[in-house]
């Protein structure tokens, strides 16, 4: 490792290259091992593992979204689960329509739950939901619009800090209550489920699952690249500056509210994309996704991973989700203890998260001379607090 890191070529690689390389390698590995190694062989990766990994990657994308607003812009959103869920519902509506007349009631137009409620026609907001392009647009527009409305109200009137956090929590709570109502037309309590196929491929088939996993990996890489681009542009520096001294930014001539709304919307769209990829892989979307606890769990991924570093968010999401999977399998009642403990310990002892730890380790192995090298292009946020 030591010698490796000292190669000038490797030193020039930014975190973007590393993350994409690792993502690519692991996706390739999983794909090959899933397709070409038979069950029972050492290298086989089961279909179950594939969808589990797909889920983790969705979480990673979601964590990335939260990191953009919290880690870089200081907006602690306790309502990002709402954007995730909205993206998920947009996808869920499309999948629901793909069921066609194969539902329990065999109605070619209406999803089962609407027939059950004695509705005779689709509500207006379901119009177009069977069109792929429309769905893709809605995955971004739904969460983006909500973020825009909420953000422009909140940021223009300079609601910030914990007030904003509480408002975002109230927002997702209000949505939770709303989506529980049958009258909303989103399946109430049960949500949307019993999907059959996506783009005419059966959701049950292992190949579709693998394809969804690969698609998620690509989306994550793209999301990471976009975030990386933003954060290394001048805009990224403005956003970091807003986090540290919003007032000062204003007197330098930028409109912090505009930047905050913009990054909030971008982040919401990423979260929506994560939700849309998540739903076909788990086969259901219900109002539970709006619960404040979910949103707060995302924040803890980012905190554990290390906020303010993009790769930290990914590490946090995957590590904590993996721990959750293991814990809930072995001793379910201990999970909340562990999660609670994580919250407390990571804030007290690991303010920079795992990424901070990793950075320290790498620095010890091969001290990078951060202060003396004249390198103005260096991504500042990765290096410093």
């Amino acid at each position: 490792m030591n010698t490796l890191l000292n190669y000038p070529v490797l030193k020039k690689l930014s975190s973007l290259h590393w993350v994409i390389a690792i993502l690519f390698a692991s996706t390739l590995y999983v794909t090959v091992c899933n397709l070409f190694f038979a069950e029972g062989t050492l290298l086989h990766v089961s279909d179950y593992t594939v969808s589990l990994l797909g889920k983790y990657l969705c979480y990673a994308l979601l964590a990335l979204a939260v990191d953009l607003v919290w880690g870089y812009c200081g907006i602690l959103s306790l309502g990002h689960g709402a954007f995730f869920a909205l993206g998920g519902y947009a996808m869920g509506m499309y999948l629901m329509r793909q069921i066609g007349d194969r539902g329990v009631y065999g109605n070619p137009e209406l999803p089962d739950f609407m027939v059950f409620l004695n509705w005779t026609e689709l509500p207006w907001y379901w119009a177009g939901s069977n069109n792929v392009l429309f769905m893709i647009v809605m995955v971004f527009v739904g969460p983006g619009l909500l973020a825009y409305l909420f953000g422009s109200l909140a940021f223009r009137s300079r609601v910030s800090g914990v007030y904003l956090s509480i408002m975002t929590q109230a927002m997702t709570y209000a949505l939770l209550l709303s989506f529980f109502r049958n009258e909303m037309g989103f399946g109430g309590n049960n949500g949307l489920t019993d999907f059959k196929e996506i783009f005419a491929y059966s959701l049950q088939s292992p190949d579709t699952k693998l394809a969804l996993f690969v698609a998620t990996a690509i989306a994550l890489a793209a999301g990471y690249a976009v975030s990386h681009f933003i954060m290394n542009s001048k805009m990224g520096r403005v956003i970091t500056a807003i986090r540290d001294a919003e007032d000062r930014v204003r007197f330098v001539g930028y409109q912090p509210a505009h930047f905050k709304v913009w990054i909030f919307v971008v982040s919401a769209m990423l979260a929506g994309l994560a939700g849309a990829l998540y739903v076909p892989q788990v086969g259901i979307i219900n109002p539970g996704e709006f619960s404040p606890l979910n949103s707060i769990e995302i924040v803890i991924w980012v905190a554990v991973g290390g906020r303010g570093t993009l790769y930290g968010a990914l590490i946090g999401a995957v590590v904590v989700s993996y721990a959750k999977t293991r814990f809930t399998a072995i001793m379910p009642e201990a999970w909340l203890f562990a999660l609670g403990g994580l919250f407390v310990l990571s804030t007290l002892l690991l303010p920079k998260g795992l990424a901070g730890l990793l950075d320290k380790l790498l620095n010890q192995i091969s001290p990078r001379q951060t202060e003396t090298t004249a390198n103005a292009e260096k991504p500042a946020a990765v290096e410093v607090k």
Binding site: I230, S233, K234, M235, R237, V238, T240, A241, R243, D244, A245, D247, R248, V249, R250, F251, V252, G253, Y254, Q255, P256, H258, F259, W262, T370, E371, T372, T373, A374, N375, A376, K378, A380, A381, E383, V384, K385
Partner: protein
Amino acid sequence: MIVDSKGALLSSQDLNTKHGMILYVEGVSVSFDGFKALNDLNLYIKDGELRCLIGANGAGKTTLMDVITGKTRPDKGKVNFGQQIDLLTLNESEIARAGIGRKFQKPTVFEALSVFENIELSLSGDKGIYSTLFHKLSGAQKDKIEEVLYTIGLIAERNYPAGRLSHGQKQWLEIGMLLAAEPRLLLVDEPVAGMTAQETERTAELLTSLAGKHSVVVVEHDMAFVRSIARKVTVLHEGSVLAEGSMDEIQENRAVREVYLGEEQAEL
């Protein structure tokens, strides 16, 4: 409006200063819960002038700067920048882009960013969302940053995170950020607090050299410093102007002696 639809600033060179005046503050009053921080205050700053503002603690100096920069809205009065720009209709960032720069009493820099980046963000230019997203530093801009770094003596610290600078260095960096923005009018609140005698001298030099090209308003308690730079001094007392004139005139002024210089006379 001097700000076009994209929020970009019309060059501050276009500012109309026909009568030689760059700032008009007329009849401004500000009250906080009935307490009058500013009381029917009038102040005129000439284009290119260096003006010192003195007054006891709580006289309203910082509040006046808050009013000019849009942080505090006055209860009544008029604040104009040049001939056409009514500052009361603009918000803080619009005022900044119109060409008014401000240094705070308590130094605030962007601690997570490097010294270089702090200055980069302060450069004048389009500050809209998309132009910052796709922004590339031009050669001229790089030169400008170098120049500023040189002026404030932070060339060696260019890649330091600003949070690690000493108090005095932060003061300098903040001044550097002001210079980079090339404002027509600089408002400087207590620039030499926390500086060594030597640094104070340098600051004095810098401020005097700025006058002419820029208009500068300096608030300072350090009388020796004021004396070293001042051409014209305004004394604030309880929210209004008590006296105005050269340092010597001010010292002779009876009202000022009574309310302000009373115990400090020996020093002067």
